[in-house]
Amino acid sequence: MAKGFTPKVVTANALLEGDAVWLTIDDTWTRDMREAELIDDAAHADIRLIDAQKRQDEIAGPYLADAKDSDAGPVPVHFREDFRTRGPSNYAHGKQVELK
């Protein structure tokens, strides 16, 4: 792993539903971040982002988000990305119920 590089995932919003999705290693979009491809190389991250940007009829607004590894797969570093894996805190809506 390159020194000083924080691992990344490629994430975006699904085109039709608008919810958060993450890019997997086999080029599909997953709604469960733990299934995403964790990228630990800056150059590879750039390439994967370009790959994602080509898929305009599936998603909108792809970007690289910081992540770290866990036993279950990649998990967020920042609280904003953490909320994206769950949904809002005021109602049981979004991924916190849909993924169950």
Binding site: L16, E17, Q56
Partner: protein, 555 residues
């Protein structure tokens, strides 16, 4: 209420059909997101953290029962059974699917509503005093002017690509309930020597550079309104800083060029374009004004109201906080609180919307308003009907007696929904309301405006809260900064930063400390938080918020 003519109806339908085609082309991949984004923003569609969000305009906050019922229908059919009323008198749906949005817009058009210009660099939904047409202190109902401005600004060819968004508010009272001085332009109906006219404010705004609007014209003759406002927007359209999004709003233009120079340029431009209006605007205003005739008031005694008030303490408490004086003594203006303790400020379920629609039809001459403080108003209710109305509201959790109190909090959606947010707002609002409800103190504390924004853009109006809270991201942790002494009324003031921010688990105790400390500081129960702040200055409140620092300074 304004009723669409054939032109309005056709315009809105055509726009829906156009957007339907754009959505189809986005879904089949012919349009990229970058190409599609300007189209969706023109129609009020955002992409947020967890889903799309559709922002529907409620022009000058006025709607009727059928419209409210349709909002409930849309919430059930295409969303998750609720809507969020905003500080710009709009309603937002948080969970629409892209392919459903054209159907939602058609359903809105069925009841003469739309989402046009609720986003983008255009003139946005014109907001108004939510007591307009009912308030006892009003010179004239400002909504005909608001409707004229809505028609003029909708699809105005010169103003579809402004340097930045542009927000207009109107009021007919000296008592400012529409935060006039925080708008790009504000229009206040005034009278001078028996003549009706307008006071025009310019260059107010919140956001990262908060500014109080300045008077651009103390008295503008009635007939000059539209060409004058067009002159203002036109001058800014040329001068506005398109090079820097953070300096593009008219408040910066006014600040950089000075009010005298702006005034001179506006007067020049006004002289140029005024002849082109040729009176058609006045003719339109006259036609519009006819739509806003006063309701046919019902005569009848209010003895039943007085008796019920005397007999029922809960009703008495509610009527003390949630009623305002109507210009007709037999009537009252009812504020329905969307701030039940622990609920999300501004949210209403579809069931609640339907009940409010029914009650508006039964008891309130079929009129509702959305306030910028995220509550619903029934502007015309006969006092004899108040007991029945109250009991019907109570049955669906809409009888919270807290208007103007600390739990009547404005809160933006924050990072629970918004892609721009830097921290959450809603949980902070929920916890503060629950805490003060548990303390049973809010009635003793009295009038106190607490406003929370989840980022520097200040949708939650924190700068003009007596207590403001701004949620920020400090090194990857939610942090909340307190401002004190803000005021959104005719005595408008920007709140002063109290000091370093508080963590998410510290902010509610800090607010509790602050408010309990105020109770010690006030010299009488009728000295409000804001009055005490103005008498004492920020220092004693800082000492309460930061006791360790106060001790160190004293040592």
């Amino acid at each position: 209420m304004y009723k669409y003519n054939d032109f309005d109806a056709a315009f809105v339908r055509n726009r829906v059909a156009e957007f339907r085609g754009q959505v189809d082309r986005r879904v089949d991949g012919s349009l990229t997101e970058d190409e599609f984004k300007p189209f969706r923003l023109m129609n009020g569609l955002y992409l947020q953290l967890h889903a799309y969000m559709l922002r529907v305009a409620i022009p000058y906050g006025t709607l009727n029962g059928a419209q409210m019922r349709q909002l409930a229908f849309i919430a059930d059919k295409w969303d998750k059974g609720y809507g969020h009323f905003t500080t710009r008198q709009n309603i937002q749906y948080n969970w629409p699917k892209l392919s459903d949005v054209p159907d939602m817009l058609d359903a809105l058009a069925d009841v003469e509503m739309h989402a046009i210009q609720t986003s983008g660099n255009t003139i946005r939904n014109v907001t108004a005093d939510h007591f307009a047409g009912a308030a006892g202190d009003e010179i004239a109902d400002p909504r005909p002017v608001a409707e004229l401005l809505r028609q003029w600004s909708t699809d105005h060819p010169e103003f579809q690509s402004l340097p930045r968004k542009f927000k207009i508010a109107v009021s007919g009272s000296e008592n400012d309930r529409a935060v006039l001085r925080a708008h790009d332009v504000a229009v206040q109906v005034v009278e001078q020597d028996g003549q009706r006219g307008y006071r025009i404010f310019v260059g107010g705004g919140l956001g990262r550079t908060p500014m109080i609007g300045k008077v651009l014209r103390e008295f503008l003759p009635e007939a000059d309104l539209l060409p004058y406002v067009e002159a203002v927007v036109s001058v800014w359209n040329l001068l506005g800083r398109r090079d820097n999004k953070y300096k593009a709003r008219i408040k910066i233009t006014v600040h950089e060029h000075g009010i005298e120079e702006i005034s001179r340029l506006v007067e020049d431009r006004f002289a140029q374009i005024k002849p082109m209006f040729g009176g058609v605007d006045q003719q339109m205003l006259q036609e519009i004004t006819a739509h806003f005739a006063e309701p046919e008031y019902v005569a009848g005694g209010t003895a039943g109201y007085d008796a019920y008030r005397a007999a029922n303490p809960a009703f008495r408490s509610w009527s003390d906080t949630n009623l305002a004086a109507h210009k007709n003594d037999d009537y009252a203006i009812v504020s329905i609180s969307l701030k039940a303790h622990g609920a999300t400020p501004g949210d209403a379920s579809s069931e609640q919307m339907r009940v409010m629609a029914d009650l508006a039809e039964e008891f309130a001459h079929d009129e509702l308003r959305i306030s910028h403080e995220q509550n619903v108003i029934l502007p015309h209710v006969h006092k004899a009907d108040l007991p029945a109305l109250y009991n019907a509201l109570r049955a669906v959790g809409l009888a919270t007696a807290n208007i103007g109190l600390i739990s009547d909090i404005i809160a933006c959606p924050g990072m629970d929904y918004c892609a721009l947010a830097t921290a959450r707002s809603i949980p902070v609002a929920q916890e503060i309301a629950m805490r003060f409800d548990a303390l049973k103190l809010e009635h003793e504390v009295g009038p106190l405006k607490l406003k929370i924004s989840g980022c520097i853009n200040a949708c939650g109006h924190h700068h003009v809260g007596h207590i403001g809270i701004l949620g920020l991201d400090r090194a990857g942790v939610e942090s909340y900064q307190i401002t004190l002494g803000g005021d959104g009324t005719q005595d408008a003031a920007i709140g002063e930063r109290a000091g370093p921010g508080f963590g998410a688990d510290e902010i509610v105790p800090a607010i509790e400390r602050l408010v309990l400390g105020y109770l010690e500081l006030r010299h009488a129960p009728d000295e409000t938080f804001l009055m005490a702040y103005r008498r004492l200055g920020v220092a004693p409140f800082k000492n309460i918020l930061y006791p360790e620092k106060a001790e160190k300074n004293a040592a």
